[in-house]
């Protein structure tokens, strides 16, 4: 019997991936506001500045637009930059270099040059992050041909996907949910890769397919644990790569279960969940026993007060309720959520400000 797998946090897995990539490839460097500082981007760049120095862990002016262009230029000339934004919103200032330049460069110059650039963006939630520290805009980025869009959901995948992203010759938007940072899971030592592309089946089940992204895989797992006690099995398909989106495992699962829930932490309209549903309906309508269900954020900005955000974020119990309905099971009454409830932290050990 092999030794029990080493456990690491999600953020520890990210830091380890960066360290390993920097150690083996002098072309890799990290840049971002505060990348070398004591907070180390919530710990994800921990120790790198000491080990690799200020040139390879480069702090930068508050110039997201300019610095993204700088990263593209460096990538065009043989470097492999990894840029970090402590909140996804700051990357909004860099939409021109991301969408007009990085995403197009290889195509518009006939394949002569490429932009091996990783842009990490952290999605915030809770503790009053509010409308400008919480947006999950994966659908925007996944809409743009030429970008790759990755959202890891487990510590194992955080490391393996980040290594794949850094080794990829294309611009990769790497979206990390802040509430995943402290989760633990098995993470192998050394270099390994989770290929960008094919979704992973995180849990096998016969009755309902839940396609989930990022943090919503955790809510799906909570729902699955609860429903397992009722004899209802969820199959959880984690779409960790949204572009290019390989829908094969989703369709295989729906063929088996005939029931589809898509749980995405973005907005509902024109969102990634809609894309998943469209793919299945277009190609597997006959396999569906019930209309598909989307579990998403409502089409609203994020409110800051927990008295409202408590009703903004979908929970595992919403997934469970949808699964019961699709499977023809009776609904289960749930206690009402109170406005003052502390649903604004991922777990009891968590305290602010971030």
């Amino acid at each position: 019997m092999s030794a029990p797998a080493r456990q690491l946090t999600f953020v520890g897995a990210l830091a380890e991936a960066l360290d390993l990539c920097m150690a083996r490839d002098p072309r890799v460097f990290v840049l971002g506001l505060g990348a070398p500082d004591a907070a180390a981007v919530f710990g994800s760049t921990q120790g790198l500045a000491d080990k690799y120095g200020p040139r390879r862990v480069l702090d930068m002016p508050v110039s997201e637009n300019g610095m993204t262009g700088v990263a593209i230029g460096a990538a065009l000339r043989g470097m492999r930059p990894v840029m970090t934004h402590i909140r996804l919103e700051f990357a909004m200032l860099a939409i021109d270099p991301i969408v007009n330049q990085a995403a197009k460069w290889h195509y518009m110059f006939g394949g002569q040059a490429s932009v091996p650039l990783v842009i990490r963006m952290v999605v915030g939630r809770g503790w009053g992050q509010g409308p400008q520290h919480s947006q999950s805009l994966q659908a925007w980025f996944a809409h743009v041909p030429g970008l790759k869009v990755v959202m890891p959901a487990t510590p194992h995948d955080a490391k393996g996907l980040l290594i794949s992203a850094i080794e990829d010759d294309n611009p990769v938007v790497f979206i990390e949910h802040r509430w995943l940072y402290s989760i633990h899971g098995p993470v192998p030592e050394g270099i390994y890769r989770v290929p960008l592309g094919r979704p992973s089946v995180l849990r096998r089940g016969r009755h309902v397919t839940v396609v989930a992204t990022s943090y919503m895989t955790l809510e799906a797992s909570r729902a699955a644990d609860e429903l397992a006690r009722e004899g209802l099995e969820l199959e959880i398909v984690d779409v960790h790569t949204l572009n290019p989106f390989n829908d094969g495992p989703v369709r295989e699962s729906v063929r088996k279960t005939g029931r589809l829930i898509v749980a995405d932490a973005g907005w509902r309209s024109v969102g990634f969940a809609a894309e998943v549903v469209a793919r299945v309906v277009e190609q597997n309508l006959g396999d569906l026993a019930e209309p598909p269900v989307r579990i998403t954020l409502p089409d609203l900005p994020t409110p800051t007060t927990r008295a409202l955000s408590n009703y903004y974020y979908p929970l595992g119990r919403d997934i469970a309720a949808a699964a019961r309905r699709l499977a023809g099971r009776p609904p289960k009454p749930e206690p009402e959520i109170k406005p003052e409830a502390f649903l604004d932290v991922p777990d009891a050990t968590f305290s602010g400000p971030f």
């Binding site: 460097f29 040139r55 390879r56 930068m60 002016p61 110039s63 637009n65 300019g66 610095m67 993204t68 262009g69 700088v70 990263a71 593209i72 230029g73 460096a74 990538a75 065009l76 000339r77 043989g78 470097m79 021109d96 270099p97 007009n100 330049q101 460069w105 290889h106 195509y107 518009m108 110059f109 006939g110 394949g111 002569q112 040059a113 490429s114 091996p116 041909p145 030429g146 790759k148 010759d169 294309n170 290019p244």
Partner: protein, 328 residues
């Protein structure tokens, strides 16, 4: 405007030839554009050739140039392949971007022309990034970034200049101030009495301005700027005053639109960089009428060749539509 020392005779002849060549190429594109076979937005460099030629005359092949929408002169002055450029304008598979770019997306990596794009300001930061890469790699290589007056109004210009200054990167930013952004004059975009060069000086960057229509002035200023940046003393900025003769986009005269104040066009025409420099070199005894005729003949033959190549090249086959989405 500024007067400048005369460069050595061989350099002066090279500058004149460069200006003449670009003028003739752009002239031919104007003629051919009317045939409606070059089906891409095209921004002509006519009237602004001395800036490109005077700067690029200093550059080594490995030094990297980026540019924007009005890039023909920069591409050609840096040694970009003429055949590939014309084929690109015709949308052919042999074009410098395999037909996927057009006039606004020129590239010639072998010539050190890193790329041009039409989003104003975007290639400034990319050029700075190219310089950063070379510094991180331990072998600094100069980046030259060409842009117009409009780009100085973008945030990315200031962000890039600031970062280049912080890191003392080997970058020369060349601003060709042709007075207009599309049809909008400087007066509605910059406060009266403030020169563009002051924007760079405000960033603590070595910066000069001069007559962009005088090849000797450009050559001298560019020499100083490039020496400064190559020596590791940080970025340099040049504002070269020049003038766009044609419409913003396209091959036509646009004086009938009435946005140019009376007399302005004529005053700049009287300072045609080609005529000015031809006269000067003839006065200095560096070229004769026969020399000019012989150069014109050579360039005409070169253009004829390139046009034939471009016209006779195939279009990209349909399977190229989905090619080059991702690099692998």
């Amino acid at each position: 405007m500024t007067s400048a020392p005369a460069p050595p005779p061989d350099v002066a002849r090279r500058l004149l030839r460069g200006i003449m060549r670009i003028r003739m190429i752009e002239g031919r594109i104007r003629d051919l554009y009317a045939e409606q076979e070059m089906r891409c937005p095209t921004h002509f460099s006519i009237g602004q050739e001395a800036a490109a030629v005077g700067v690029c005359a200093h550059l080594r092949r490995e030094e990297q140039v980026t540019s924007a929408h009005r890039s023909h002169a920069h591409y050609l002055a840096k040694g970009g392949d003429l055949k590939a450029m014309l084929a690109e304008l015709y949308g052919k598979a042999t074009g410098c971007a395999a037909g996927k770019g057009g006039s606004m997306h020129l590239i010639d990596l072998a010539a050190g022309f890193l790329g041009a794009v039409p989003i104003v300001g975007s290639t400034i930061s990319i050029g700075v990034g190219a310089a950063l890469a070379s510094v991180l790699q331990g072998a600094p290589i100069l980046s030259i970034v060409f842009f117009g007056d409009g780009a100085t109004e973008t945030g990315v210009f200031h962000e890039s200049l600031n970062f280049a200054a912080v890191q003392k990167l080997p970058v020369v930013m060349v601003c060709e101030n042709n007075l207009y952004s599309v049809l909008s004059p400087l007066a509605c975009r910059h406060p009266a009495g403030r020169e563009l060069v002051q924007l760079a000086q405000g960033h603590g960057v070595w910066a000069r301005q001069g007559d962009g229509n005088d090849a000797d002035v450009v050559y001298a200023l560019a020499g100083e700027a490039i020496d400064h940046a190559r020596a590791g003393r940080g970025p340099a900025f040049l504002e070269l005053k020049t003038y766009r003769w044609l419409e913003h986009c396209g091959p036509l005269d646009d004086r009938h639109l009435g946005y140019r104040p009376p007399g302005e066009y004529e005053a700049w025409m009287a300072r045609d960089p080609l005529e000015l420099y031809t006269r000067r070199l003839r006065d200095r005894g560096l070229v004769t009428g026969a020399d000019l005729e012989s150069t014109a003949g050579e360039v005409t033959a070169e253009i004829d060749d390139a046009v034939t190549f471009a016209r006779s090249s195939p279009f990209p086959p349909r399977d190229q539509l989905a090619a080059h989405l991702y690099a692998s």
